[in-house]
């Protein structure tokens, strides 16, 4: 378990899932395993909102939650699971309330557009989820969290690793989770605003298997099944609303030396019903995708060349056709050149192909230069310019009447420049700091135009620009560890283009639900296996209308966590207590309903480790 400051910026060591070594010039933030462990019973949005500047547009506890990364829309964040984009093809986005932290082992966040590497949707940034091989021969863990409002979650995990024969070894993980948010709030309102009754039930199964041979063959298989069942006003039999989201994600990966092949199948099912659940609005999407890539090395040059091919099939109640299909292909060439021992340059090229579409050629250029590179001090200048694009969602094209088969892909140019420094002092203090400025203009931004009966059109153009500052401090002496990190982001994101008589009221105004200022602070102190963590996030007011005539007030939330791990011979027990929304802050969600006040959670994880067996 790596004890690291969570804003330390470094390449992630998931071999080959996402080619991060070609992302030079871009900012990548790895969320360390200690931090992920704090959030083991929570959703990914809880981690991201406390450790990154990603803004969330939340409809309520356990309800729809979409991301705005660097001032872009919910469609502009690519979510990759082991390198595969898992945004819903019909919606082009991910509902983060359906992604529990229990579903993955590794999390990193890549800022800014990396479309030349990641492909579509990577306009504001990418969220990279990964599976990791087990290092333990055998480990079982069982965890249970009990929260206020009769909310609870249970998890069972087994990790295993073994040699099969002289050549092959395997490792794996099996994890099941079951979360129930009953949301039995003791109050119906806060400050006269309704706290909407809702329940969210979440279930999932994760299965990872890694096979490694001594002669460089690697095979891995990954399965992630999730099911989310959200009910609004469940007591009202006539008016209750059900949204059920299921995802079946499967992947098979084969790697031999410099060659990698990946095949995957993902099925997304969304069902919606109001009142009578016997008639569901049903939407099924299948995505079959294959990827092949090969690495080359010529002296100081590293090159990755490859292609992807995907077939989509969607059956959606709202479409004209019973079933729509589409093929997409991508060719890419990624390069990394260690020009000098202080300089790295990456040039990446990608061309996507989509049935009946013409996505733009997507190049990017990134560079990193160490202004200082000493044993205890480093200062790095990095910069990047890259084109991004977003293939329109299936809904944008095929929805009855409102969809537009002629819609063009959105495209943008992202430019950014940043400085990163790391200082290690003599007294076991480590400091890190980074500052990044970005400028991202997105053209042909799609808009469901109310002036044309919500026909979707490429009407808008958005400029997102901002500054991100992140600092971290980490200290380790004897049995004591402590650390903190602080982040602040200024983001101005505005519409630039007039398209009707009333759009002058909108031009230059901040995009809805994107705060101009946001910040977070995390600090911990640990003695042996006892740890106290404080978390805070603050966001400025968020406008709720395009013309900025209405807004939701800014707010600050604080959490306090205490944990202690008891260790015996083969068994460890982690006990964690948590107070969320410590100050009982009142704030509103997108529906104009109140969010819950202070709440408490207690969790217990029992871990059994089998003794190390040496064969």
């Amino acid at each position: 378990m790596a004890q690291r400051d969570s804003v330390r910026l470094e390449p992630v060591l998931i071999k080959g899932f996402v080619p991060e070594r070609f992302m030079s010039g871009l900012k990548i933030q790895k969320v360390d395993s200690t931090t992920l462990n704090l959030f083991r019973f929570q959703n990914i949005s809880d981690v991201l909102s406390l450790y990154t500047p990603i803004a969330f547009k939340n409809y309520g506890p356990g309800q729809l939650n979409t991301a705005s990364f660097r001032g872009t829309s919910a469609n502009h964040t690519a979510v990759l699971w082991n390198g595969l984009n898992i945004n819903s093809p019909i919606l082009g986005q991910t509902d983060f309330s359906t992604i529990p932290v229990a579903g993955f082992d590794q999390l990193s966040v890549q800022y800014g557009s990396a479309a030349s590497i990641v492909g579509t949707d990577a306009v504001g940034g990418s969220i990279l989820l990964g599976s990791a091989p087990s290092s333990q021969p055998l480990q079982f863990s069982i965890g249970r969290q009990q929260e206020s409002f009769n909310n609870h979650q249970t998890q069972l995990t087994a990790r295993y690793a073994s040699a099969i024969n002289d050549q092959w070894s395997f490792s794996g993980k099996t994890n099941v989770y079951d979360g129930r948010m009953n949301n039995d709030f003791p109050y119906a309102e806060r400050n006269q605003y309704t706290v909407l009754p809702s329940t969210s039930f979440q279930r999932g199964l994760v299965q990872d298997l890694f096979f490694n041979s001594k002669n460089d063959h690697q095979i891995s298989a990954h399965v992630w099944l999730t099911r989310n069942r959200l009910t609004l006003t469940p007591e009202d039999k006539a008016g209750r609303e059900l949204t059920s989201t299921e995802a079946y994600r499967t992947m098979l990966r084969y790697n031999f030396k410099d060659f990698t092949f990946r095949t995957s199948w993902v099925r997304d099912i969304i069902d919606y019903a109001k009142g009578d659940y016997s008639q569901l609005d049903h939407a099924v999407t299948d995505k079959f995708s294959n990827r092949i890539e090969r690495d080359f090395q010529f002296n100081a040059f590293q090159i990755k060349a490859g292609g992807e091919w995907a077939h989509y099939r969607a059956q959606v109640a709202g479409y004209d056709e019973a079933s729509v299909t589409e093929n997409r292909g991508d060719l890419f060439l990624l390069t990394r050149w260690q020009a000098t021992n202080r300089t790295i340059v990456s040039v990446n090229l990608r061309q996507a192909f989509v049935t009946k579409f013409d996505p733009p050629f997507t190049p990017s250029l990134g560079a990193e230069y160490f202004l200082a590179q000493k044993e205890r001090y480093s200062l790095k200048l990095r910069g990047s310019i890259g084109r991004s694009y977003r293939v329109p969602t299936l809904n944008e094209r095929f929805w009855k009447e409102m969809g537009n088969p002629e819609i063009r892909p959105e495209t943008g140019w992202n430019k950014e420049i940043g400085l990163e420094q790391n200082i290690v002092s003599n007294l076991n203090h480590t400091f890190s700091a980074s500052v990044t400025a970005y400028h991202n203009r997105i053209k042909d931004w799609t808009y469901w135009n109310p002036g044309k009966s919500y026909h979707v059109e490429n009407l808008q153009q958005v400029l997102a620009r901002g500054i991100e500052v992140q600092t971290g401090w980490y200290h380790n002496v004897n049995h004591w560890k402590s650390g903190s990190n602080i982040g602040y982001t200024f983001n101005k994101s505005s519409q630039e283009k007039a398209y009707d008589a009333y759009s002058s009221d909108i031009i230059g105004k901040q995009l809805v639900f994107v705060p101009v200022h946001s910040g977070n602070l995390n600090a911990f102190i640990q003695y042996k296996t006892t740890r106290l963590t404080g978390q805070a996030q603050a966001i400025s007011k968020r406008f709720s209308t395009f013309d900025n005539s209405q807004f939701l007030e800014g707010y600050m939330l604080t959490n306090l966590l205490a944990e202690h791990t008891f260790a015996w011979d083969k068994i460890k027990m982690r006990l964690q207590g948590q107070i969320n929304n410590l100050a009982n802050t009142f704030y509103l969600n997108v529906r104009n309903n109140a969010m819950p006040g202070r709440s408490f959670a207690l969790s217990l994880i029992l871990i059994y480790d089998s003794p190390q067996t040496v064969k």
């Binding site: 044309k452 009333y502 209308t545 395009f546 529906r591």
Partner: protein, 360 residues
């Protein structure tokens, strides 16, 4: 100087006049005693409806007077507002089941007096005042299956601020209401499938009679000759409100794919204004037209105003036509004022999706 003196004199005499009025008949107190109230539906998924207010002389609006008076928003879409004397009733339609309500406010201060929520009020559509301290609210009910079979008219007793009766309107989703002389005419929403106009006797609060139409009937109001006008698809029908006989039927063009709505009377109740719209691949089109209550036909070749609106009403005091413009459901709309000849006076920015007006 002379001019100034004259102004001063005029002002003084006016004040004296106002003061003397005040002496004889105490003027109601409040920030919203006289003026124009705009019902802004808001964006349904954001529950951000509001009532805006401006006096007739003003060109800027107070965009959310309920919040200003009560320190908390309506917390739902605003479906309607009407007032009688000191009592105002706001219809609030929340996107989530069980959160709808009527807010009963002091019409002059907009301070809330009482609130009636679910299950008494679900999906409220329109409110009118009757006599004997009664108000009537058409509601779709839960309408979970979207079949419009759960509708009713709620009868509010304004002495207790409670619902005293629900009159079921089983088919079609009750919508527009017209109260006249002991009778409440209840129309149905155009897409609800119902084709009957229900007439409630307000002394018994029971349905006295139902009249069958070809399409969803939409009662417009009572004209200067005390006749009831009802919109029926692309027709308008003049009806004797006592005998229920149709006295005239006028066609609004001949294209049944078009939709006529937002009917409103002129201040003398001799002219009817309305919006005629149609949809094609490029979106919504249409214009605003008028006809006289004695006309033999409706002229749909020459529009009064070449625009469509989300709300239309005439100020009975000044006779100006107030039209609601909704550029989108995510930005403030406008109240545009027109003279009776269709020439524009000015436009006032209000709140999201202005759909109705109330004049006091």
């Amino acid at each position: 100087m002379k001019k100034q003196l004259f102004r001063l004199a005029a002002f003084t005499s006016l004040s004296l006049f106002a003061w003397s009025c005040n002496q004889s008949d105490p003027a109601p107190k409040g920030d919203y005693v006289q003026g124009v109230f705009v019902v802004n539906e808001g964006n349904f998924s954001q529950n951000n409806g509001a009532i805006s207010f401006f006096t007739r002389e003003q060109t800027t609006a107070q965009v959310d007077i309920f919040s200003a008076a009560n320190g908390t928003a309506l917390k739902g879409g605003a479906q309607g507002y009407a007032a009688s004397g000191e009592t105002g009733i706001i219809l609030v339609d929340n996107m989530s089941a069980g959160q709808d309500k009527v807010e009963i406010v002091n019409s002059n201060t907009f301070k809330t007096i009482a609130s009636i929520g679910a299950p008494d009020i679900e999906n409220p559509r329109e409110v009118v005042f009757g006599i004997n301290n009664k108000a009537y609210v058409s509601c779709w009910g839960s309408n979970a299956d979207q079949k419009f079979t759960t509708g009713y008219v709620a009868v509010i007793d304004l002495t207790t601020n409670k619902i005293t009766k629900r009159v079921d309107i089983a088919s079609g989703g009750p919508e527009n209401l017209v109260y006249n002389n002991g009778k409440l005419f209840v129309g149905t929403v155009s897409y609800g499938g119902g084709k009957t106009l229900s007439i409630i006797n307000t002394s018994t609060n029971a349905i006295d009679k139902t009249l069958l139409f070809e399409n969803a009937p939409n009662p417009i109001g009572i004209d200067a000759d005390e006749k009831l006008w009802v919109n029926d698809g692309i027709k308008v029908v003049k009806i004797n409100p006592d005998s229920y006989n149709a006295e005239a039927t006028l066609s609004i063009g001949s294209d049944a794919t078009k939709m006529a709505d937002k009917f409103t009377f002129s201040s003398d109740r001799r002219t009817v204004f309305f919006v005629l719209t149609y949809f094609d691949a490029a979106g919504e089109h249409g214009a605003t037209y008028k006809f006289g209550v004695s006309d033999a036909q409706v002229n749909v070749t020459t529009p009064l105003i070449k625009r469509v609106f989300t709300g239309l009403a005439v100020d009975p005091t000044q006779g100006l036509l107030y039209a609601g413009v909704t550029p989108s459901y995510a930005q403030a709309g406008y109240a545009v004022r027109y003279r009776a000849d269709g020439s524009v006076v000015d436009s006032i920015k209000v709140n999201v999706a202005p759909t109705g007006f109330f004049f006091k």
